[in-house]
């Protein structure tokens, strides 16, 4: 809401500097988004009187004007505007003036003819296209009345004003009017606003049978409905003062009826409507639209209405969508002579839905949605009638046709001084608090420290004692509240077990040299169900904004891959990325979300160095990171890696990871077909289901002494069929190694020319140790013997 500083002076004795006022309002009530002074930056812009006009000899559209600008001699100004004419009073930017955009106007020549300045349109001195009257939109501005040439234009055009942009929160719709703003500023300045009381001089003829009304909606839909009737209207322009106030409020002046509707609404907050009485056929009906009915708005295709749209109709057509907009069917035009004026209150939710459904948000619908002062319907229609009568020489027929006038029960809230101090942490006295309510023009009856506060209907945002506490707090001043930490019974803060573990998990991967990323939870359908063992039902948006973000991810790797591709496109191809975040799915109609962690590796395993000790990441390096991660997280036992297909992963270079029988994730190379058109070659990734992992009971760590007796290491070099896997071999070793076998490590794998086809050689180092005594060679020999026999008999392996 654009609030004019000068307009406020109609109600209040405002002397405070506009910038200071803006700051005070921001701190006390409503944020002032911007403060504008329209004439700021303008210089030497005056009224000129066009004395004579002749065509430019060298141009078919330019004309040369002699303009009286209050100097002894007229100025010669070349002008290209089509609407310039002799005897006009116009806006002249003199030589060395500044117009909008800090543009300097100099004396110059236009096609050889001297021009001493420029005759301006409103846009050229800073008015927005959206508020400039249509008839002067494409040319120069012409004053209706004579103004002494040489006078600065600012005051006449309202540019000497200051415009405060009230950024109104949804609860403070009471300030969506000049009256509301006056009450607010009055409370801040401790002044009683002096509001206008409409004075309608009614004709002797009364308003009775000219229009018949049928109101077919209940009080919840239409709580107030009243009409006035005007005749002998003379449609013309509004006076300049009204036009400039409207423009400063962000509204385009049209004519004396449309402008009065706007002006009265801005002043009193009540949306109003006017119909051309001669265009109404039959009775006025206020009802829900019937299906199939349409409304015709200006310059638009007809809009089809629904049965929850409140409409004003006559016997033939729809005149208005209630609370939202009037149609062209009975709109006021230059031939209009009789008017039906309407002041009504509609249900905010119905208006909101209508406006939303048909994509027509108006100043009127916004007010109904947010709330209206029920006490102003008669006053506003009287004021409207008065304005049109004054500006259009119209006759106001006697009386208002009040079809419905539902009264709101007055709001009285009891509150105690103690309660207010209890919530605010203050020590205000009852008198302090009463003084604040009086500044707000609220009624207060005090009994001891209990206050009965009567809230006027215009403050429809206030209904409970907490609302009153806020009024006291803001007017007392938040700066005046004490600043202390809470004193309460000691509470135990902290993270829960899962949060702690996830924090540790993230720290570990950062320690491994990975960069933490955050990717979007919403992705494409394909990406959402990639990189999983089995896709589940997806959670999809009901109404996505884009294809890129329409389904919730079931994996983290696809997001990491998006990030990797983004980096590769920027020539960053050595990547180590991870993310800890949630994945989402539906199971049996229930939404599920679980925490995962995933990593992605591409390019070199360490930065370039002059010792050239660098390799590309491969499966085993990445698997090693996963193994180290799981070990550090406490999952040391019973983890197994099984070659299994994972969607989107390389078919023969991917392992599913199990903890016992429980699938917990995967590690492997991303299927190269998932990397279209990127510079990335081999990309590796892992993803682990942290929710499942953290649900596993891990044995607590119990301290053991460091071994006192020496270990014995033995190497076993095995010749095996290529089809046999390491895990088959180690499980045979584990089963047959006896109780002192502590560790089995692969230290070499070889296949090649020196071996027969289909064979490979794997070398293991076995570590034996007895924690109770020095181990004898003998017992190790026995164990090795047992292992060798088992390998031979079970896997047909020969020990070399």
């Amino acid at each position: 809401m654009l609030v004019s500083y000068n307009w406020l002076k109609d109600y209040l004795d405002v002397t405070v500097d506009p910038a200071d006022l803006a700051e005070t309002i921001t701190r006390t009530g409503i944020e002032i988004e911007t403060l504008e002074h329209p004439q700021e930056g303008l210089k030497k812009i005056v009224v000129g009187h066009v004395l004579s006009l002749k065509n430019h000899e060298d141009s078919d559209h330019l004309r040369v004007a002699q303009v009286d600008v209050g100097e002894e001699e007229p100025y010669q100004i070349v002008c290209g505007a089509p609407n310039i004419a002799e005897d006009q009073y116009v806006i002249v930017a003199l030589p060395n003036s500044r117009i909008a955009g800090n543009e300097k106007i100099k004396k110059g020549k236009l096609r050889g003819v001297v021009s001493q300045g420029m005759i301006c349109g409103l846009q050229e001195i800073g008015f927005s296209d959206s508020v400039v009257p249509e008839e002067v939109k494409d040319g120069i501005y012409v004053f209706e009345d004579a103004i002494a040439p040489g006078t600065e234009v600012y005051e006449a055009l309202g540019m000497d004003d200051y415009i405060l942009d009230f950024d109104i929160t949804p609860n403070r719709a009471d300030t969506l009017s000049m009256e509301g703003a006056a009450y607010e500023v009055g409370a801040i300045l401790s002044q009683n606003p002096n509001l206008k009381i409409p004075e309608v001089s009614e004709d002797s003829q009364s308003f009775d049978s000219q229009v018949k009304v049928s109101l077919d909606l209940d009080e919840s839909a239409v709580s107030n409905y009243r009409l006035r009737y005007l005749t002998d209207v003379n449609i013309a322009k509004s006076p300049l003062w009204m036009q400039t106030r409207l423009m400063n409020a962000g509204t385009r002046p049209v004519n004396n009826v449309v402008d009065a509707l706007q002006y009265a609404m801005i002043e009193m907050g009540q949306p109003l409507a006017a119909f051309d009485a001669d265009k109404i056929e039959g009775d006025l009906q206020v009802r829900f639209a019937k299906s199939g009915e349409t409304i015709q708005l200006k310059d638009q295709d007809p809009i089809e209405l629904g049965t929850e749209d409140i409409v004003i109709a006559d016997n033939q057509k729809i005149l208005a969508l209630g609370g939202v907009v009037t149609s062209t069917a009975a709109e006021v035009d230059e031939k209009t002579t009789s008017l039906v004026l309407q002041s009504a209150i509609y249900d905010g939710a119905l208006v909101r839905k209508s406006a939303q459904r048909h994509g027509v948000r108006t100043d009127s619908s916004a007010r109904f949605e947010k709330g209206i002062n029920w006490d102003n319907t008669q006053k506003a229609i009287d004021y409207l009638a008065q304005l049109i009568a004054e500006n259009g020489q119209a006759k106001v027929l006697a009386g208002t046709k009040v079809i419905r006038d539902t009264q709101k029960s007055p709001v009285v809230i009891d509150i105690t001084t103690a309660r207010i101090n209890h919530v605010l942490g203050t020590e205000l006295s009852t008198a302090d608090i009463i003084a604040i309510f009086e500044r707000l023009q609220f009624g207060v009856v005090a009994e001891g420290d209990t206050l009965s506060v009567s809230v006027p209907a215009r403050r429809f945002d206030i209904s409970i004692d907490a609302d009153l506490v806020e009024e006291v707090a803001r007017l007392y001043g938040y700066d005046n509240l004490p600043t202390v930490l809470p004193v309460v019974e000691q509470t135990i803060g902290g993270y829960d077990r899962q949060q702690q573990a996830l924090n540790k998990a993230r720290d570990l991967l950062v320690g491994f040299g990975l960069d933490e990323t955050i990717n979007y939870s919403l992705t494409t359908h394909d990406k959402a169900i990639s990189f999983v063992k089995e896709a589940k039902d997806v959670i999809a948006l009901d109404w996505p904004m884009t294809k890129e973000h329409e389904v919730l991810r079931q994996n983290l790797v696809s997001g990491l891959l998006d990030s990797a591709v983004y980096n590769a496109a920027r020539k960053q191809t050595d990547l180590r990325l991870f993310e800890q975040g949630r994945v989402f799915s539906q199971e049996n109609g229930q939404n599920q979300e679980v925490d995962h962690i995933a990593g992605l590796y591409a390019g070199q395993n360490r930065p370039n160095n002059w010792q050239n000790d660098v390799k590309n990441f491969d499966f085993y390096e990445v698997k090693g990171q996963v193994e180290a991660f799981l070990k550090a997280m406490g999952f040391t036992k019973a983890t197994s890696y099984v070659a299994e297909p994972i969607k989107g992963m390389h078919p023969t270079r991917t392992a599913a990871i199990y903890y016992g029988d429980q699938y917990v994730g995967f590690v492997g190379q991303i299927d190269p077909r998932e990397l279209p058109k990127t510079k990335l070659k081999e990309v590796y990734a892992f993803e682990l289901d942290m929710e499942t992992l953290l649900s596993i009971d891990v044995e607590p760590t119990v301290s053991k002494e460091a071994p006192k007796y020496p270990a014995i290491k033995r190497d076993l070099s095995l010749l095996v069929d290529e089809a046999i896997t390491n895990s088959q071999i180690t499980s045979v070793i584990d089963e047959n190694g006896g109780k002192h076998l502590r560790d089995v490590q692969v230290f070499d794998v070889y296949s090649g020319d020196k071996l027969e086809v289909g064979k490979q050689s794997i070398a293991y180092q076995l570590t034996f140790q007895d924690f109770a005594q020095t181990l004898k060679d003998d017992s190790v020999n026995k164990a090795i013997e047992a292992i060798t026999q088992a390998l031979t008999s079970e896997l047909n392996i020969s020990v070399r």
């Binding site: 701190r27 409503i30 944020e31 929160t169 949804p170 403070r172 909101r352 919530v423 605010l424 942490g425 409970i464 907490a466 806020e470 707090a473 803001r474 938040y478 700066d479 509240l481 004490p482 600043t483 930490l485 809470p486 004193v487 309460v488 509470t491 135990i492 803060g493 902290g494 993270y495 949060q499 950062v510 320690g511 040299g513 960069d515 933490e516 990323t517 955050i518 939870s521 919403l522 959670i539 948006l541 009901d542 109404w543 904004m545 973000h549 919730l552 990030s563 983004y566 980096n567 960053q572 990547l575 180590r576 975040g581 989402f584 939404n591 979300e593 360490r606 930065p607 160095n609 002059w610």
Partner: protein, 351 residues
């Protein structure tokens, strides 16, 4: 020349030779010459058969003393020469220590999480529990319980992603539903409630430099019998000073949130200019950092908490916004595009 004089001469000469030996080989030869089986001292002992019975033990004693002296001196000299040899060896091993080290990859935490954990840990130190909740929420917890019934104009402030046709479930538009869930469960007869809840939230916004359809909030809630707005101010001041610097001040401005009454926007003195006014704070000296207020009685009553007995404050802050303000990030999309050159700036410990 008596045998004693001879020994004395041997002793003097020997000590000089040892002293003058320049390398281990020479020293070894000297040792063999002096104390070896065919050495001079041995020769003296062998010649003892010619001596009287009286002299013999005396000579033996002197020879042994000299032999011990030689041994000690030779050991010392040997130690000396070995040290010198090692010294020389290490001189030969000289390297250019100014050549670069073999770099390891240094991982980086995401800036949003750095900011989040910093605030979390501070709040934990004040006795707050960290509580998380679902990102796919019900309309009930996200809106209804937070005093935002259907058709409430405030729903316009948070245009929402729904995940079903009936609009019963949605991507949470705020972290506040975790408040409602916790209020329902908390036993106020046992202890006050002090909680924070961080996490992702989602709104129907087109992604651009200042908007993101996914961002992060951190919500705080303190409920007990005697919590005041003064406590809110104290708490927010402590958090602002922790995050933005000890000299920071805060101020409250009236605002509106459906779940608090009174509601305030909180500004902190500009950390770019210290409050004098600059481009960062648009010459106001203040920067808006978060929203807060006293919990609306409807929110308490909706969760079954007696609003006459219990009350308190809540605050909610945007972690993306905090990171943007504190680190001067110019585009919110940087947080979700994950350009490693952006991410890796935040590797070093910094406050």
């Amino acid at each position: 020349m008596s045998v004693f004089d001879h020994i004395q001469t041997l002793k003097d000469q020997g000590l000089t030779q040892i002293k003058e030996a320049n390398d281990l080989d020479t020293l070894n030869n000297i040792r063999v010459n002096l104390t070896g089986k065919k050495g001079e001292l041995t020769k003296v002992l062998r010649s003892m058969k010619d001596l009287s019975n009286e002299e013999r033990p005396k000579v033996g004693q002197v020879v042994n003393e000299v032999r011990d002296l030689f041994a000690t001196e030779i050991d010392n000299k040997k130690e000396q020469l070995q040290q010198a040899e090692l010294e020389a060896q290490m001189q030969k091993e000289a390297i250019d220590v100014t050549l670069p080290g073999k770099e390891s990859y240094l991982g980086s935490h995401h800036l949003i999480n750095i900011v989040r954990q910093d605030i979390e840990e501070f709040c934990v130190s004040l006795g707050y529990q960290v509580i998380t909740g679902p990102e796919v929420e019900s309309d009930h917890y996200n809106f209804e319980m937070m005093n935002i019934p259907k058709n409430h104009p405030a729903r316009d402030m948070q245009d929402t992603f729904y995940v079903d046709a009936t609009h019963e479930h949605l991507m949470r538009s705020q972290t506040s539903p975790v408040q409602a869930r916790t209020l329902e469960k908390h036993d106020f007869s046992k202890s006050p409630l002090k909680m924070i809840s961080p996490g992702k939230v989602y709104r129907r916004d087109d992604d651009d430099a200042t908007h993101s359809h996914q961002f992060n909030q951190l919500e705080g809630l303190v409920i007990d019998e005697n919590i005041t707005m003064a406590h809110l101010k104290g708490t927010l001041q402590a958090i602002a000073q922790h995050v933005f610097g000890e000299d920071r001040e805060i101020r409250l401005r009236p605002s509106y949130f459906p779940f608090t009454e009174p509601s305030v926007e909180v500004d902190v003195t500009c950390f770019a200019c210290g409050g004098k006014g600059c481009s960062t704070c648009k010459s106001t000296g203040w920067i808006e950092v978060l929203g807060a207020g006293m919990v609306h009685p409807n929110v308490l009553e909706n969760a079954g908490v007696d609003s006459q007995k219990y009350g308190g404050f809540a605050f909610g802050l945007g972690l993306d916004r905090f990171a943007i303000l504190k680190y001067g990030v110019s585009d919110i999309r940087d947080f979700y595009l994950n350009d490693v050159r952006f991410l890796e700036q935040f590797r070093q410990e910094a406050k």
